[in-house]
Symmetry: C2
Subunit: 379 residues, 2 copies
Amino acid sequence: MAAIVSAGMSHFGKRDDGILDIAAESAGPIVEKFRESIDFALISNCYSGELANVSGLNDLLTTYLALDNLPSARIDNTSASGGAAVLTACSLIDSGQAKAVLVTGVEKMTGRPTKEITKVITSLLPANERGAGPSLPSLAGLLTKLYLRKYPEVKRESIAKVSVKNHENGARNPIAHIKKRVSIDDVMGSRIIADPLRLYEFCPVSDGSATLLVVSDWIADSYSSNPVYILGTGIASDTSYVTERTDLLELASVKKAGEIALRRSRIHSPDFAELHDMSTILEIVESEALGFFDPGKGPEALENGVTEIGGQFPINTSGGLISRGHPIGASGIAQICEAYLQLTDSAGARQVKNARSGLTLGMAGFGNSAVSVVLGGAP
Amino acid sequence: MAAIVSAGMSHFGKRDDGILDIAAESAGPIVEKFRESIDFALISNCYSGELANVSGLNDLLTTYLALDNLPSARIDNTSASGGAAVLTACSLIDSGQAKAVLVTGVEKMTGRPTKEITKVITSLLPANERGAGPSLPSLAGLLTKLYLRKYPEVKRESIAKVSVKNHENGARNPIAHIKKRVSIDDVMGSRIIADPLRLYEFCPVSDGSATLLVVSDWIADSYSSNPVYILGTGIASDTSYVTERTDLLELASVKKAGEIALRRSRIHSPDFAELHDMSTILEIVESEALGFFDPGKGPEALENGVTEIGGQFPINTSGGLISRGHPIGASGIAQICEAYLQLTDSAGARQVKNARSGLTLGMAGFGNSAVSVVLGGAP
């Protein structure tokens, strides 16, 4: 088993810095403190070549951090890269290949026209579907229409409220990209991006990094008085052909990844979750796929405040991708950083009371694959 | 411990096919045979985004192979990606995360102007050194000058003979990119690329893929009557700043990766090696860094036929990067495929007699990092 003994994040947002500076902002302080112990580095990143003109990022970053002799690799699973990197770190530790793994997620995405960024991200869709013109936002719009048709009792505004909640949470997160509170009228009044979804219902394009130090549980106590244990990980895939899914609302990869992580962790109901709210609808559908709410009941829970920080089951206390931002390779690690802060009672204005365990969920593509991690105190 | 129970390669060369087709050419037959058993896929690849306009390659490939529910990730460590992927596969297996891992290395590089490809690859150099204008070929030229200055008794032609040997070997390899035998006069008569190195002393730009099925040693016998065991892996790094190396000839990462892999495998002297001959000089310097020959003595061994297929210690029986080709993400896996063929007595016209163990060595950047794998029969 592995434990997290340190975690940090850079500021998320539009940054003028290069990808190495952004990565070092979260990794640097941890490296300074634990330099001698770290024996492997995994870099969670997808688009350094396409968007930051850098390849061999893992070697360049370890050199930049003066960790010249540290073995390293880059792990990519698009938006689920962070989870895949943590799962890999656990394997390196459990197999005896390493005992203290630096896991840094980073992406530099801003500074290019949105159209160009969308084109790069759309390259994760199969070529034949790509040719038909969908993008991830347009698929989210389609998912919303399907959801509202299947559950006619759900009001359109209930889905938009995910944005209000997550902006409220993000406003309390010092590193969030968007720290502005928004009202339901602001959300429903923002321009349509992918009918019926509107601008404030999507994550922004962000730069940022997040870093964890993951160590063997045998030595965790010598690094920290308050380690957070990685109780279970789950990774699962679905066909990449969206047109071949039996039911787009099902998100089979999300469901399965969560099931595996929860089963392995022996946790039945975690106290909070960080989900992949690339758009409002996804937080709703994922929360149902993961079994936290019955199908069609996610919006009701939201309306009743269940998923707010003070509710019975807070979701995306960090602000989620919508407010914290979504530097693709960093997001999965940032989710786990938030869980670390919550579980060490260090989340400040976002603190969930009596948080003992939490679940994170990152989704690649449009459910092409997913990785879930369950964290908590000593098992 | 893990074992390889199946291995295959695509044809290497200039291919009109897309990256998924090229990957499927090596992975497909293995998947057809072992579909039900495979429970994880690792894709070794560096430049799918930059050179093949595809991201999320791991998910697209598993879907393409009708392995929809297979968890997967992409592993990148530039030219040492293949070794890093195999090391990761071993960790997944040793940690119990997986029991049968499909490891496919692939790169689609041709079809673009050489200048553009060089620019993409040069993005692995640190920005401040990149600005000074070096490329990997020019660094190899510099290395040659340093070597010849340090060992004045070595003739320039002795280094070029690596190319003659590797072209001879490649001419016997059905999947090699370049199957043409060349004489020393051909090599020394080809045009200068990076003084004093000439065209035939460098690997070509190639497309290709290679696939391994890596399984837990506990179950290896149920997959194959002739499994090849991964006896040891070693990964090591050096500063990415070439200008900060004490001695460019030292290749500290290569030396250390080999030492670790050999120590873990308890093999002192393997029977053959596949080295990273991005250029002729690198095969020589690596063979010395790995301790197979004393410093400055690599060329003498070559002149005496020691490193030929019929010699006492054959190097690059496959033809190496120079003749088999160098699709970056595929090369490390192809090296291990060659070792698998040799150790299962299946290398045909390239067969090394009584081959019981072999070492492979992949190098990222210009020694920024390196991964070595030692393979052999049941320990």
